[in-house]
Symmetry: C2
Subunit: 90 residues, 2 copies
DNA sequence: ACCAATGTTCGTATACTATCGAACAATTGG
DNA sequence: CCAATTGTTCGATAGTATACGAACATTGGT
């Protein structure tokens, strides 16, 4: 759902996650240096995942997180790019 | 703020308002046939206005509402267009 | 087997959002 | 001046979001 994606991207913490992923590709959850507790971070990752913005695959004790760029570009062409461009550098 | 715009657009009622405005240009608040009470509609118009998505100018007893397309396209190039395209027809 | 590392889940507290109806303000028209 | 129209504001309420710490599960290494 479009509104779900927009909502997921409307939180500063989650937008920061997406920006880092757009820059760096796949990363483990713990490598984001987020200004919240890890339980809160886990919540934000879930919101992004359930909105279809990211995917997470387990690898050892950690989860490698990555953007679902192709899916997003297919469902909502240009949206992610414009958001990333508008959000500026990290 | 980008997150403010994304948040404003993440509500179905508000997105519907924006879609109608993109289609029809300036309209009075009462002409949107929204599925909420007018006090609630007024709240949604305010959220959109404060996020910089729309502008409202008084004209008689009503407010003519319109998209701030140029401002948005300048601040967040491509964003509104991709959202409108992704949101489909009214 | 045990311990450390990584996230998730749970319970909870706080804050914000969407919603409504009622009351109010401003303007237009009779 | 009075009434109708249009939208805002206020107060209340129910639901949802964000945040945290504590406890738990899973995996990998010692």
């Amino acid at each position: 759902m479009l509104t779900g994606v927009l909502y997921a991207l409307s939180d500063p913490v989650r937008l920061s996650i997406v920006k880092h992923l757009a820059e760096d590709g796949g990363k483990a959850c713990g490598t984001f240096c987020l200004p919240v507790a890890k339980s809160t971070a886990s919540h934000h990752f879930r919101v992004l995942r359930e909105a279809g913005v990211i995917q997470m695959r387990p690898e050892g004790t950690q989860y490698i997180t990555s953007l679902r760029r192709e899916d997003l570009d297919c469902r909502f062409p240009g949206l992610l790019d414009s958001v990333l461009q508008a959000s500026g550098p990290i």
